[in-house]
């Protein structure tokens, strides 16, 4: 365990916040799948609020990456905070863009879902439906982000590949309009 001297950054870094709303974290995993390139990336980028840091609420940021759609009131609140704080807001992945897998419940009655899971569920003893002020209100349907706020960029894919995310980020960092070339846009 040799400890290196911590360097003080000189150049102003791009401030980036990320969050997962109704997503599976797969998009965040794909971001980490840039592997060793994390090291040069983190020299150019300062992470603000993110599942990877202990900053719980985003401050003013240059870029916000959001994974997942909106399935409850907390998701909506957090999305609004991100929109207020981030100059550029990105819907990352299928869930953020169109609701994704969680939106499969949109054609179902919520009460029916509740009962399947908590009352008639296999192996459930003395079941009832959870109800507590600490639990956020679920939406009747899962919504994509752009139903509620303006989104600047959409990165498709489930998840978008690490290559696509890398291309996007390096374009933004260099001040270019992001452009995903052939083969980087996938709708899986």
């Amino acid at each position: 365990m040799t400890r290196a001297a911590v360097e003080i950054p000189t150049k102003k870094k791009l401030r980036v916040a990320t969050t997962s709303l109704a997503g599976c974290f797969g998009c965040h995993m794909s971001l980490l799948d840039i592997d060793e390139r994390l090291v040069p990336l983190l020299e150019l980028v300062e992470l603000d609020a993110s599942p990877l840091t202990d900053i719980k609420h985003p401050g003013p940021c240059d870029l916000g990456l959001i994974e997942g759609g909106l399935c409850n009131a907390d998701n909506v609140r957090m999305l609004r905070v991100f929109r207020e704080q981030c100059k550029v807001l990105v819907a990352m992945g299928a869930c953020a863009i169109n609701g994704g897998l969680p939106a499969q419940r949109n054609h179902l009655d919520i009460r029916d879902c509740l009962q399947t899971v908590y009352l008639s569920g296999h192996g459930v003893e003395r079941g009832f439906i959870p109800n507590d002020p600490e639990l956020p209100l679920p939406l009747k349907q899962v919504h994509p982000l752009h139903d509620v706020v303006k989104i600047d960029y959409f990165l498709p894919g489930c998840p978008p590949s690490a290559e696509a995310i890398w291309q996007f980020l390096t374009d933004i960092i260099a001040g270019r309009t992001p452009h995903l070339g052939h083969g980087l846009i996938k709708y899986d």
């Binding site: 400890r3 599976c24 990877l52 897998l101 079941g127 109800n131 349907q141």
Partner: protein, 491 residues
């Protein structure tokens, strides 16, 4: 009757402190703590605040979609769901035994996933607490801080994770949410070139895995009291073990031990899991509370995951990991270890084991076989159990004569640990918070205990709930998108 600190008698008179979101864990959770004027803690709860409803909306879908859909519950351990669903549906398509190639390809996928997930959890998420201290500067207490202060350790973590992800890419087709496993086998063979590619970096990977075990052992020895006592609460242990009693993370039978290590049940076939395990619901969490039937809902909670597994099995079948396991056992003089922070040690032993298993699979010519799918007489139901990185994962399906799913039940790893995590944070609250003003550093102690279990809160949120508020959602132009009301009947 609930455990102390589960429910305060007069919550309305108490001050509420909230940790939201719990960070550096996978998924969405929050902790609430209720304190009185003397800052005595009266209630501590880990809430799972999200929901998916997967068990309901999968009904009516064709069964072959399930292994691909179900992965979207969790992007950190998608392979676990992919394989648990495939295993359950193997029974439905009558594939009693897989072809030798399919079995090996699935195992390579699974151990690749154990490797990447354990590396991610330790190096990217948990190590900042252990290397910098629980109340270190929160701006530095993250993977970026580790990269700056311990570049070698961080780099090894990044490369270990990368290697596991590559094993998944080769077998599943892509790193996150691949499609390689199907009911009855796999749909993609491994070529000799791909195998050789994976063999090349192995000696470095093995050395870094060993360094990882050495690092956690050293951290433990430097701060023995903390590591042994922090959040420690005794409970039973649950996992699958191989049919020979050895550690097997892909397949086996259920075994449970009590807090002293005596067997509660053993050799339970996956299809009979429901005889031994049932689930309870609490009002304040979307996550259910499972328990061992013979012990009852109050006493029957247990731990799953690395610490449970390496103490539940008779031995580990690979030499380096078994030697490391013996060290851990000797350290406690053979007594069952319940300390949450020792999860990290056990996790790194498993990471080393995964590397050894992968090494063995890559040396096995049967891996390259091209008979990939088996079948047999159809069945209506199937149960698949696998040891996911975080613990036992159970998938159960019923499929009708039109190939459509009519029933689905999932018990995910993190749900098994629900009570264990709640008890651990209550213990930490007693040990560290009682009587103190809850500072950021002290609150991080609570999160450190949660992180030790490596919870996958995304997985745990596949259920739905009703809410006690009214809310209106308006779009960017102020138009009403949706309105919800308090009355559960009208949700």
């Amino acid at each position: 009757m609930h455990s102390p600190l589960d429910t305060a008698e007069h919550p309305e008179k108490l001050r509420r402190v909230v940790i939201e979101p719990v960070s550096r864990v996978e998924g969405h959770g929050k902790v609430t703590i209720l304190l009185d004027d003397q800052r005595k803690v009266h209630q501590v709860r880990l809430h799972i605040v999200e929901f998916r409803g997967f068990e309901r909306f999968i009904q009516g879908r064709p069964y072959w979609e399930v292994p691909v859909m179900v992965q979207r519950l969790c992007g950190i351990c998608p392979v676990s769901h992919h394989l648990a669903a495939s295993k359950a549906l193997d029974a439905v398509v009558g594939a009693r035994t897989l072809t030798p190639a399919a079995e090996r390809i699935r195992r390579l996928m699974h151990y690749g996933q154990i490797l990447q997930s354990h590396a991610l959890h330790f190096y990217h998420l948990a190590s900042p607490d252990l290397l910098f201290g629980f109340d270190a500067d929160p701006r530095k207490r993250n993977v970026v801080g580790v990269l700056a202060a311990y570049p070698d350790i961080a780099r090894q973590g990044v490369l270990l994770r990368k290697y596991g992800q590559e094993c998944i890419r080769v077998t599943a087709g892509k790193r996150v949410h691949g499609t390689g496993s199907i009911p009855g086998g796999v749909n993609k063979r491994v070529t000799a070139e791909e195998r050789d590619e994976l063999r090349r970096p192995l000696s470095d990977i093995r050395a870094w895995a060993q360094a990882g075990v050495a690092l956690v052992t050293e951290l433990h020895e430097h701060n023995r009291d903390l590591y042994e006592q922090f959040g420690t609460v005794k409970s039973s242990l649950l996992s699958i073990v191989g049919r020979d009693g050895k550690l097997d993370l892909y397949d086996g039978v259920l075994r449970a031990r009590d807090a002293q290590g005596a067997i509660i049940f053993d050799g339970v076939e996956p299809k009979d899991y429901h005889v031994q395990l049932r689930e309870n619901v609490r009002s304040w969490s979307y996550m259910k509370f499972p328990f061992i039937v013979s012990r009852g809902p109050e006493e029957g909670w247990y731990k799953v995951g690395p610490l449970a597994r390496i103490q539940n099995c008779d031995a580990i079948g690979t030499p380096l990991a078994e030697a490391a396991r013996q060290e851990l056992i000797a350290d406690s003089h053979g007594a069952i270890v319940h300390a949450p922070l020792v999860f990290h040690w056990a996790r790194m032993i498993e990471l080393l084991h995964a590397v050894e298993v992968i090494e063995g699979l890559l040396a096995d010519p049967a891996l390259l076989g091209d008979e990939l799918v088996a079948s047999g007489p159809r069945a209506r139901t199937g149960v698949g159990i696998i040891e996911a990185p975080r613990g036992t994962l159970i998938h159960q399906y019923e499929v009708d004569e039109h190939d459509l799913v009519t029933m689905c039940n999932l018990i995910v790893s993190t749900t098994h640990n629900n009570q264990a995590m709640n008890e651990a944070i209550r213990q930490v609250a007693r040990q560290h918070l009682d009587g103190h003003e809850p500072t950021e550093g002290l609150l991080n102690h609570i999160e450190v205990a949660i992180r030790a279990f490596d919870p996958c809160l995304s997985c745990a949120t596949h259920a739905l709930g009703k809410m006690p508020l009214a809310v209106e959602i308006v779009d960017a132009q102020g138009a009403l998108v949706e309105r919800l009301v308090r009355d559960g009947e009208r949700l």
